[in-house]
């Protein structure tokens, strides 16, 4: 035991965990800045400018503000569940980063069922929302929670099914192997990414992923105009910050998963000296994730919200049949070739 | 390596808890939850035997149990909703119209 704790393996593992965790937390903080800035630009506003150059210290100011705000627990709330809910929301959201490969060796652990692990972990995230909404003992949070749980169950189906086609081509569930299977090119210039083999699945995945993370145009769970703030109406201070963090973490997770499944993960052109080659995969990976994040924010600032019945009909009558048809055709082609 | 017996005994303990719940609780949702406990106890013994005997069949059976559990939950909860709508209670002793 003690030998293991002092061994190089263990220290390397610890360094990876600390590095990934720290990096992700920092990235999440600056995601809020990026979103505010970008939204502001779309709406012809300057966005945060006061704290630091370009408002770059804004996330730190926000964090401090969250820490020092009064932590209100409503009188009629169910105290135990009210406190539990943000924790339940945040832990699964952060846990999924443990299997995501940020680079060839920059991965905490490569489970043989890594992809399913992420699905399992993220499917637990819905409890945070549901419990938060229920424990607040107030009508808007409850309605938000009900909507959110129904929406997340519905879209989880198409999300999971859209991935099956990719899995049939790659023949593995490990995220590391999924990435390495997409190395190389066709005809020397088209990268061997699954998006070219599974364009329909990619579209289904991205749409369902947006719905899974409760973002506009699918943010029925917290639609400001009708439900105040949905399931986190009664939350304040650090608990609210935890919900926010969980939401952003989920956003990054689904983007990372989309990158790994469809855009070749950390693969990309390699050049330069050795130290650059060490860093490049992670740069590509982060770059690809950023594309998705940009897309998310632009969607939020430009699209109106769906109506609830439209949302459900879209999931069950469009995405699900499409995903099933995609599986059928893919399996036919895989079986014949 | 943990002996097979420990898993089997754990399974038995959980199963008995499930049985007790099924007979002692009166809320129909609690009854469904007790059934889930029993199914899980059985799943555990299946997997324990499977890994002990080096055969995958036990794990495949857990799969089927999962399917049955999902079907049971879907139909059971639909019934619960229908029952609550008609009787305003979930106490199984109160839904006694078919009794004479």
């Amino acid at each position: 035991m003690i030998e293991y704790v002092t061994s190089a393996d263990f220290l390397l593992m610890m360094a990876k965990i600390v590095g990934i965790f720290g990096g992700v937390m920092g990235a999440l903080a600056y995601l809020t800045w990026l979103e505010r800035k970008l939204m502001a630009r779309v709406q012809m506003r300057p966005g945060p400018t006061r704290v630091g150059p370009f408002g770059l210290l804004q996330p730190i100011a926000d964090g401090l503000k969250f820490l020092f705000k009064e932590d209100v627990i409503p009188t009629n709330a169910n105290k135990f569940l009210f406190v539990l809910a943000p924790i339940v929301a945040l832990i699964p959201a952060l846990l999924s980063f443990s299997v995501i490969p940020f680079g060839p060796r920059l991965q905490v652990t490569d489970l043989s069922v890594g992809l399913l692990f992420i699905f399992a972990i993220t499917s637990l995230g819905v409890y945070g929302i549901v419990l938060g909404g229920w424990a607040s003992n107030s009508k808007y949070p409850l309605m938000g929670a009900m909507r959110s749980s129904a929406q997340m169950i519905s879209y989880e189906l198409s999300l999971t099914l859209s991935v099956v086609g990719v899995l049939m081509i790659a023949n593995t569930l490990s995220l590391g192997e999924l990435v390495t299977a997409q190395q190389g090119t066709w005809f020397g210039f088209i990268p061997r990414w699954n998006i070219f083999l599974q364009p329909v699945a990619f579209v289904i995945y991205v749409v369902s992923a947006i719905a899974e993370t409760n973002r506009l145009p699918f943010d029925l769970a917290e639609s400001e105009q009708e439900l105040v703030a949905g399931w986190h109406t009664e939350y304040s201070s650090m608990k609210f910050a935890m919900f926010m963090l969980a939401e952003y973490a989920n956003m990054v997770t689904v983007s990372a998963l989309a990158t790994i499944l469809f855009l070749g993960g950390w693969t990309g052109p390699m050049f330069g000296p050795e130290w650059l080659q060490m860093v490049l995969p992670t740069v590509w990976f982060v770059g690809k994730i950023s594309v998705f994040i940009f897309f998310y924010v632009l969607l939020r600032s430009t699209f109106p919200r769906f109506r609830y019945d439209q949302l459900m009909r879209f999931s069950w009558k469009v995405l699900l049949p499409l995903a099933l048809a995609n599986i059928l055709i893919t399996s036919l082609i895989v079986a014949l070739s | 390596m943990i002996p097979l017996n420990w898993y089997l005994i754990l399974g038995a303990v959980l199963f008995v808890i499930g049985v007790l719940g099924f007979f002692l609780k009166r809320n129909i949702i609690a009854l469904l939850l007790s059934v889930e406990i029993m199914l899980n106890a059985v799943n555990l013994t299946f997997v324990a035997f499977s890994s002990q005997r080096g055969q995958i069949s036990g794990q495949v059976f857990v799969f089927f149990v999962l399917v049955v559990a999902a079907a049971e939950a879907a139909v059971g909860l639909a019934l619960v909703i229908a029952m609550y709508r008609n009787r305003e209670t979930l106490n199984v002793d109160r839904s006694n119209l078919l009794k004479w």
Binding site: W134 | I2, A12, E36, N40, A48, Q59
Partner: protein
């Protein structure tokens, strides 16, 4: 080391299962059951059934229990009234009988001849399970799809407004 993990998760599972029975409000029971299901998933990992462990969380904790919690919230149930009627005395008979059943089971299982450990340990990978599912168990597998279809239709019919 592995024994410590086993006892930890076993204790967690049993404790959570008992808590399911003790809790008055059915929402707490459901949450407690989720804890038990995740503990079971950890036990599956100890038994090297990785795939099942993950599936357990996805299907049970992620889908079935969400349905339960959803229905409990939808109906906005009050707490159970405490044994108001004729079955009040049942627990004084039931718990001893249950413990007796447990005693019988444990004694039987404890005295079972311990089979020698098979050397070829298998790990429940998706490949192995899938292969078995689509060759040896193809007919039951297809039958389950029929079962799910029937359950689906049943759920839709039962949940209709005018039953």
């Amino acid at each position: 080391m592995i024994e410590i993990l086993f006892f930890f998760f076993a204790a967690l599972a049993v404790g959570a299962a008992i808590n399911v029975l003790v809790q008055k409000h059915v929402l707490y029971s459901a949450l407690s059951l989720i804890v038990m299901l995740t503990a079971m998933s950890a036990l599956f990992i100890l038994l090297q059934a990785d795939f099942l462990a993950v599936i357990q969380v996805i299907v049970y904790a992620g889908a079935i229990m969400v349905l339960f919690v959803f229905v409990i919230m939808l109906l906005n149930l009050p707490e159970d009234e405490d044994g108001a009627d004729r079955l009040r005395w049942l627990k004084f008979l039931g718990i001893p009988l249950g413990l007796f059943l447990l005693f019988l089971a444990v004694v039987t299982l404890w005295n079972v001849e311990r089979p020698e450990v098979v050397e070829a340990q298998i790990s429940g990978t998706p490949e192995l399970i899938g292969r078995s599912l689509f060759t040896d168990y193809l007919l039951p597998f297809e039958a389950t799809s029929l079962l799910i279809l029937i359950a689906l239709m049943g759920a839709v019919v039962f949940a209709k407004k005018d039953l």
